[in-house]
Symmetry: C2
Subunit: 402 residues, 2 copies
């Protein structure tokens, strides 16, 4: 049967992260592995109320088929929010509703990528994007992510050497690294793409979750029609409703709508109506403020637990928002090794290798701080610190013995 599968499936594997999540289903394990929002902040009561309300609509039934483009009032709301937050002028027709941002990535791959096309990535980059694009068989090339965003000299050299069809970036609180582009780096990055024919795919699922510092303008505000901006309700309302969106030039939306029709006709009618009813009847900004307050505390707790329990040779990012923090181990240590040892101490994380397309990143790992409640974070980091110290001792002992 195997011989029947398409060539594109040859190198496609199940998500390493999703497989790890299965291991961490054991309730005794303290897991920093997932990318899950904290369910304490899901607006459960409001969604129940919204359901009762939208179901009274006998004209546009929320259980019926609806348009591929998405529920018009929801598209207007998203456009309006861009204007309010960033002064971006977006026409609601430039918004396509998708099944979470992940579908946005798939549809972008579908309409743009021929086999062999180049896609430029940050190093490290989001695994889900690597997977979505991979099925269209592009070639990836990468430029290093520094503390203030991508290395623009490297990026420029890369694009000089080989023009790229797409550049994929998460400028705010990146997954996996937690890194945010500085204002200067945003301008410098936009500069790199002046006079180039590359489409910038700006993925922004975490942008609203900033605990430290000021919101910065999206790359799209510098790049205009050459940038496609992706957003999501997963982290600010709830991920189980599977609602994200693509904001792009009309000509691109037109092709995306064709691809979306062929792919699954339309996004969930009920979810779209529920989210719209929720943002209409509730104060989304106040809700986001609550999430940020708690995630901020969880982030602070994790950073100070790391300061206390990790050996000084370990470096790590101090994210200004989002859900992830990125750890680099001193060089003899492998994160996969650490993962196996940490599992015995009932603590889990994601080894960083999965976020690199060039096989590097062996000594890196991703820690999620949004999902675990505060009291668990301290204990998990303590266990992880102990395991790192033990491994370091062993390596040093081996080194001396050898």
């Amino acid at each position: 049967m195997n011989s029947q599968f398409a060539d594109r499936m040859r190198s496609a594997h199940r998500s390493f992260i999703r497989e790890i999540l299965k291991v961490t289903e054991n309730p005794e394990i303290i897991s920093f592995a997932g990318g899950l929002p904290n369910p304490r902040f899901f607006p459960v009561e409001s969604i129940v109320a919204a359901t009762a309300k939208v179901m009274q609509d006998k004209i546009a039934n929320p259980l019926q088929y609806s348009t591929t483009e998405g529920y018009a009032p929801l598209r207007e709301y998203i456009a309006h929010r861009y204007a309010k937050r960033h002064g971006l002028k977006i026409n609601p027709n430039e918004i396509l509703i998708t099944n979470g941002s992940q579908q946005g990535l798939d549809l972008i791959g579908k309409i743009f990528l021929n086999k062999g096309d180049f896609v430029a990535l940050e190093k490290p980059s989001y695994l889900g994007a690597i997977q979505a694009f991979s099925l269209y068989e592009p070639q990836f090339h990468t430029a290093t992510l520094r503390d203030d965003g991508i290395d623009t000299e490297q990026l420029s050299a890369l694009l000089d050497q080989q023009p790229s069809k797409l550049f994929y970036t998460i400028p705010n609180f990146q997954n996996p690294s937690g890194i945010t582009y500085s204002d200067a780096k945003r301008r410098a990055t936009a500069q790199v793409f002046q006079h180039r024919n590359t489409i910038i795919v700006e993925d922004d699922p975490y942008g609203e979750l900033r605990f430290i510092g000021q919101d910065l303008p999206p790359l799209k505000s510098y790049l205009g029609d050459n940038a496609i901006l992706l957003g999501s309700f997963s982290k600010i309302v709830a991920p189980g409703l599977r609602l994200g969106w693509i904001c792009a030039h009309n000509e691109i939306i037109e092709k995306l709508v064709i691809a979306k029709q062929a792919t699954d006709l339309q996004s969930n009618t009920l979810s779209q109506r529920l989210v719209y009813q929720y943002v209409t009847d509730n104060d989304l900004d106040a809700h986001i403020a609550t999430i940020k307050h708690h995630y901020g505390i969880q982030r602070d707790l994790m950073v100070s637990a790391i300061e206390q329990h990790f050996p000084p040779e370990v470096t790590y990012t101090r994210p200004e928002g989002g859900m992830f923090l990125w750890v680099t181990l001193p060089n003899p240590l492998s994160a996969m090794d650490l993962f196996n040892h940490a599992a015995k101490a009932n603590v889990a994380f994601v080894p960083g290798k999965a976020f690199y397309v060039d096989g590097s990143g062996n000594n890196t790992l991703r820690l999620n701080f949004s999902n675990a409640d505060a009291h668990i974070i301290e204990e998990g980091i303590k266990r992880l610190g102990l395991t790192i110290k033990q491994l370091l001792l062993e390596k040093t002992a081996c080194h001396i013995a050898a």
Copy 2:
């Protein structure tokens, strides 16, 4: 910007049907164009009740991320229903939950089709399948659909000439034709695929909606692991919840799960929980019996209105179930011409050409009988009959004049 799009988008267009549906938004138009279930039979109250109930689950939150494969109890329910209805032994692990059947078609295209691979279709075939597969750039070849199912001699000759990676079929109340495979034709079709390396994609969104005659076994009951069976809750519960499924051999499910992860991570958690709660707390068979009773009446009304109002030169199918009826106009007439004239009489349908990959079918059209309430059907068919008669007269007059 155009030059940037992938080659696969060159011949991709917006669905003709979805464009027609926009025209028919005018409330004065009697539309037989859509493929919409009648919203009178959506279980609105039960879904509101189910929402309140599933939202009480604090352990597996219905607003959280969940597994790519789908909600386990729902997969078990589907497997159990196959056993009950057809004696098919399906392991719940052989079920993948999708965003409606349409996503099933896209994922099947994704894991199987290389550019240039052959896909065998019924002639006519479902437009959504043609669109989904088209984006993987296969070559289509077709065998004629007779009153009792596909022409197996033609199909056999086709496959002898050129082996096909996939054969796509809707054996029950086909969209667009309303045709159902007879028992003998099911066996003969299965026979065609003995000792061939073709995967049969058996799409069955309407199978539960039979008003006349007895349920017949799916092709999968003859073909086993070589058949992939697609199902949907769209026509028996509600389409806005976007829930369908793929039932296939483990090895195929494994690849589909990889493709689904890359495509949109997972199907809607809330929808899956709602539908499971709905089928647990309600009698789905009784609900389907109600739908069938009313659709049966609507179908009878449409058939007798056609008998009364259409000229005898027009032929049409008499579906045993489903939602569609297929009309063939006498040869000088074009359905696109009729569409334009009928629009002036405020009645709409889908010209059949869209369902053919070879440019034929100009004199065919599809009528939907599930969406319109009974009293509207009579009036719409009367207007359509008048328009056909007028066109026939004009053509004859021209013929005589010429």
